[in-house]
């Protein structure tokens, strides 16, 4: 049994190579709950909290790359919130201030729960996830990365290093339904991104399927009905139909947090509202 607290990514990767079954611990907000609730017995742990490279933010004009270990509190305001407003908004809904000081995109990606608040944003922005192992580095599209309920494409020996998203010209926003006004797990969430340059729209849903859902058909339908290169007011009727089309692509279930029917209704409403907000002046 061992705990390793590497200082550099290289050291961490070396440790991973030596022990590919070791548990990776980022902020602890998921893994420690499992340990505390007796659902997981840690044997070997590699803690990533001291690796500065995993907290790096890199901007290269058209994209922004966010270190997998950057705490959500760093995204709530400042540069990231300005360049990727939907991510800033999603970050602010994560748990509590204490959780946002520890939790990160790497944790959301690693756990890959459909209710992970950061994931709909990554999906709507077609994020690329950088994974590294001791002797390789690869970039995986978020859509291929998220495989199923709490399952992802990360291989043993790999560490999630960063998520890279484009800096998009156009409106973007995130909204999340919970039963409480703070510190709540998503019952349903929605991220909508309008790309004025490309004239496209992207909608991704959280907590209404085994993994985050991209609503390609609704996106397609809207882009054929509206010229998304122009700022335009969106009528209530159009927004409503868009919401319904989005909801049709959701695959929600009943559980103790909400019914499938409510979740479907909620994402329809959220998508419709976000679309209207995108056109509001």
């Amino acid at each position: 049994m061992s705990v390793v607290v590497p200082r550099t990514l290289t050291d961490a990767l070396r440790a991973m190579a030596a022990n590919p079954s070791a548990l990776l611990l980022q902020g602890g907000t998921d893994l420690m709950v499992e340990i505390n609730f007796n659902h997981r017995k840690p044997v070997d742990v590699i803690a990533l909290r001291k690796i500065h490279e995993l907290r790096a933010v890199k901007i290269d004009g058209e994209t922004i790359s966010i270190g997998a270990g950057l705490p959500y509190q760093e995204m709530e305001s400042g540069q990231i919130a300005e360049l990727v407003p939907a991510l800033g908004q999603a970050a602010r809904t994560v748990g509590s201030p204490q959780i946002r000081a520890a939790g990160s995109l790497g944790g959301n990606l690693g756990t890959c729960s459909p209710a992970g608040d950061g994931l709909p944003v990554l999906s709507a922005l077609d994020a690329m996830i950088n994974l590294r192992s001791a002797n390789a580095s690869r970039n995986v599209s978020i859509h291929e990365f998220m495989v199923g309920v709490k399952r992802n494409a990360k291989q043993p020996g790999e560490i999630i290093v960063s998520a890279t998203v484009p800096i998009v010209r156009g409106w973007q926003g995130f909204a999340k339904v919970g039963v409480r006004n703070a510190m709540v797990i998503s019952v349903a969430s929605c991220c909508l991104v309008v790309d004025r340059t490309k004239g496209s729209i992207a909608v991704a849903l959280g907590a209404v399927g085994p993994t985050v859902i991209r609503c390609r058909q609704a996106e397609q339908w809207l882009s054929t009905n509206v010229d998304l290169k122009q700022d335009a007011m969106i009528g209530a009727k159009l927004a409503k139909e868009f919401g319904e089309r989005v909801a049709n692509e959701a695959r929600p279930i009943d559980d103790h947090r909400g019914t499938a029917e409510y979740r479907r209704h909620a994402v329809a409403t959220l998508a419709s509202r976000l679309l209207q907000r995108s056109g509001a002046r």
Binding site: A175, R180, T259
Partner: protein, 733 residues
């Protein structure tokens, strides 16, 4: 002060040299026959010192507050998910967990009975030797055939709420040498009742079981029943070592009783002008697998179903029922919460049917001192119901929602679900009556002792502080009566007579009365001492600030000087006036006294998404007398937050008897961003019966705020909403 520095010792902070950890094995099934228990693998784990089951209980195998129907450990059947079957003692909590995982139990899983009405059906087999009916009580009052010009009816349901105190169950047990007795430090609401039940199960005389109160991190009713006490003591006696037991949050949900879910069928008859004439009700309280205080909760439910309104005719049938759901018992409001949700929902329906406002209908029917309840009992308490309503009504409404409000002020908060244009505001009312203290002929009392020497008063009592503020009130009483500056609070333990439970809004009245009585006896003796020494008639002496003065002459001596070198020691036992049992028709003076409160809720609702934010609660509460304004306000605001929880978010979700959300991730409690602005008026009309003029203030705040919020959501949405907590889908689908 120790509470703000982290130095205050809660029961979970207890520690002893050489101690072992205890842990409990619980049933994963709501109902099953235990075919076999195999401990062999668990014993092989290094660090495990003892494993005990029902066979190892030397005394009584069952316990219970009112009826002893709950096994210390299940041996033949498990009747709810989470029922204890075995306990282990080991060197580390993780060793305990591994040992529990290694215990093999063969179950024959049975179909659980989870619906209270079905449980009473003749075709349902009893799930316990005592049967599925815990208690039935009927109230028959006045004209049984009266039909009102206006009749409104409804079926109302209340979900299972958890007390969710923050300080998890924990205790430390130290065995006496030779196993002849045990000493325990525990967080409880009633030391002496705990001791009685623990001693019986251990097969020891009560004198061999000594309990000291450890810091209590909230209670709200959930610490009235035994949880880990017997298990912990048994393990200590078995291992001859100190044992610490401490529940985690998940186990806590399984380890204590909850608020009864209830289903209430109710019909109100009234005149066209809105005068209430008759109530018909059928009430089912789901007690879960074991009786706990269900029978008393039921009596509170049926006797409060009329609400704070005059009514002479009633036909009420109430049932407390056994099911395979988790056991239910005491929680703040004790049976009245459920009744109030039903009667207040009905009052609004009645108002609508009679074309009156919610305030008008309630004022028309408001109860007064001297009115007769449907039990035949006359309300002798101060009963300022109309005043509570009027003063609440006079509180200013909150400002309308600003179009440029910060997202945090909007429904949904940082979730950014709702803009002002999506939000509808609603207003609703709730008014309630709540009995104070224990009912039904229970001879309730509290004992306190006061010792005065060298200007220092020492108070000894077994009154449990759960956060309500008795530790501030008791010295305040002693200072006022005795003129002392320094008051020492002795250890709270079983070394003195019982103080009764810290529940039922009773300690200010009962233990306050006992401390008051003991201090008065000491003061009398001090006057006699001073009188004899200085040749003054003691009758002429009074306490003025910190001096004793002669009312007629100019003699004056400080209390410190007067009490130097003497030891005056007095004990006082305070009883409230006796009450009666209800007869078969539910008639009898079963309650001691009553308190009243009105709530007006203002809520913002995103009707389309079904999301709610409570903006303001206005309240006027009948408190008798305010003894500590800050503490009183804290009780009111805290009770309101719990009532808000029941209205819109707090529920233990059960599926076929299985608890689906035993954690704080999924059992949602109001956060700082869910707390409404509370505007409170305290109505001070001293209660003549109460020793200090003060009525208990703990329970009323959480009772009618729930129906007030429900009514406000109805106002905003037009939906009937016959069930709390109100979920988003109830509003928008």
């Amino acid at each position: 002060m120790a509470k703000v520095t982290g130095q205050f010792e809660f029961s979970s902070d207890l520690h002893a040299e050489n101690m072992l950890w205890g842990a409990t094995l619980r049933s994963p099934h709501p109902y099953a026959r235990i075919a076999n228990i195999d401990l062999s693998a668990a014993y092989k784990i290094s660090g495990v010192e003892a494993i005990i089951t029902a066979e190892d209980v030397p005394g009584k195998k069952t316990y219970g507050l009112i009826s002893s129907d709950q096994p210390v450990f299940a041996s033949d059947f498990v009747r709810y998910m989470g029922e204890p079957i075995a306990a282990v003692a080991a060197d580390h909590p993780e060793t305990c967990r591994r040992a529990l995982a290694a215990i093999k139990i063969d179950y024959e899983v049975l179909q659980p009975v989870t619906d209270a009405e079905l449980a009473l059906s003749p075709s349902t087999k009893p799930i316990h030797p005592d049967g599925n009916l815990i208690r039935h009580q009927r109230i028959i009052a006045g004209d049984q055939n009266l039909q009102g010009e206006v009749v409104v009816e409804g079926v109302y349901e209340v979900g299972m709420q958890d007390q969710a105190f923050l300080g998890l169950e924990a205790a430390l047990a130290m065995p006496d040498p030779g196993g002849t007795g045990v000493e325990m430090w525990v967080a409880t609401q009633w030391l002496h009742e705990d001791r009685k039940q623990i001693a019986a199960c251990l097969g020891l005389a009560e004198s061999k079981v000594r309990l000291t109160l450890s810091g209590v991190g909230g209670a709200f009713g959930a610490r009235e029943d035994i949880s880990l006490q017997v298990h912990c003591a048994l393990l200590a006696l078995r291992t001859s070592r100190p044992i610490k037991m401490q529940y985690g949050r998940e186990e806590s949900f399984f380890g204590h009783v909850h608020r009864h879910p209830a289903k209430i069928y109710i019909r109100h008859h009234a005149s066209r002008t809105g005068v209430l004439q008759r109530i018909e009700a059928k009430m089912y309280f789901d007690g879960g697998a074991y009786a706990s205080t269900s029978s008393a909760v039921l009596i509170n439910g049926v006797t409060h179903i009329q609400g704070p309104y005059k009514c002479s005719n009633a036909t009420v049938d109430g049932y407390a029922v056994r099911t395979n759901n988790p056991p239910c018992g005491a929680m703040r409001g004790f049976g009245v919460v459920q009744a109030c949700y039903a009667h207040e929902s009905q009052m609004d329906k009645l108002a609508q049917a009679c074309n009156l406002s919610p305030v008008e209908i309630r004022l028309i029917n408001a109860m007064q001192t001297g009115d007769k309840l449907i039990t035949g009992q006359v309300v002798e308490s101060v009963a300022p119901v109309a005043r509570c309503i009027r003063e609440t009504d006079a509180i200013a409404m909150p400002a309308p929602l600003a179009l440029d409000a910060d997202p945090l002020e909007l429904v949904g908060g940082t979730g950014l679900t709702s803009l002002p244009e999506n939000i509808v505001r609603g207003v609703g009312w709730g008014v309630s009556i709540k009995n104070l203290m224990y009912s039904e002929s229970f001879d309730d009392f509290a004992v306190a002792r006061c010792q005065l020497s060298d200007g220092v008063a020492t108070l000894k009592y077994a009154t449990v502080e759960v956060g309500q503020g008795f530790v501030v009130l008791a010295p305040q009483i002693a200072r006022t009566i005795l003129g002392v500056d320094e008051v020492v609070l002795d250890t709270v333990d079983t070394g003195i007579g019982s103080a009764g439970s810290t529940s039922a809004s009773r300690q200010t009245w009962m233990s306050g009365g006992a401390v008051d009585g003991a201090c008065r006896l000491v003061r009398q003796r001090l006057f006699e001492h001073v009188g004899a020494k200085f040749n003054i008639d003691p009758m002429r002496l009074v306490v003025e600030d910190t001096d004793i003065v002669d009312m007629i002459g100019d003699f004056r001596i400080s209390v410190i000087e007067a009490s130097t070198g003497v030891v005056i020691d007095e004990t006082f036992e305070h009883h409230h006036r006796p009450t009666e049992e209800l007869d078969a028709n539910g008639q009898g003076n079963c309650h001691v006294a009553f308190a009243f409160v009105a709530h007006r809720a203002v809520v913002d609702v995103d009707v389309e998404l079904g999301l709610v934010k409570v903006i303001q609660i206005a309240t006027a509460q009948d408190v008798g007398r305010v003894l500590n304004p800050v503490a009183a306000l804290g009780q009111i605001e805290g009770g309101i937050a719990q009532g808000l929880g029941l209205a819109i978010m707090e529920e233990i979700v059960l599926e076929n008897g299985k608890m689906r959300n035993p954690s704080f991730t999924d059992y949602l409690l109001p956060t700082a961003l869910d707390a409404p602005k509370v505007v409170a008026v305290m109505i001070e009309e001293p209660e003549p019966q109460a020793p200090l003029g003060a009525k208990g203030i703990g329970e009323p705040p959480c009772i009618s705020v729930t129906p007030a919020i429900a009514a406000a959501i109805r106002d905003a949405t037009g939906k009937e909403l016959p069930r709390v907590p109100i979920r988003p889908q109830d509003i928008c689908l």
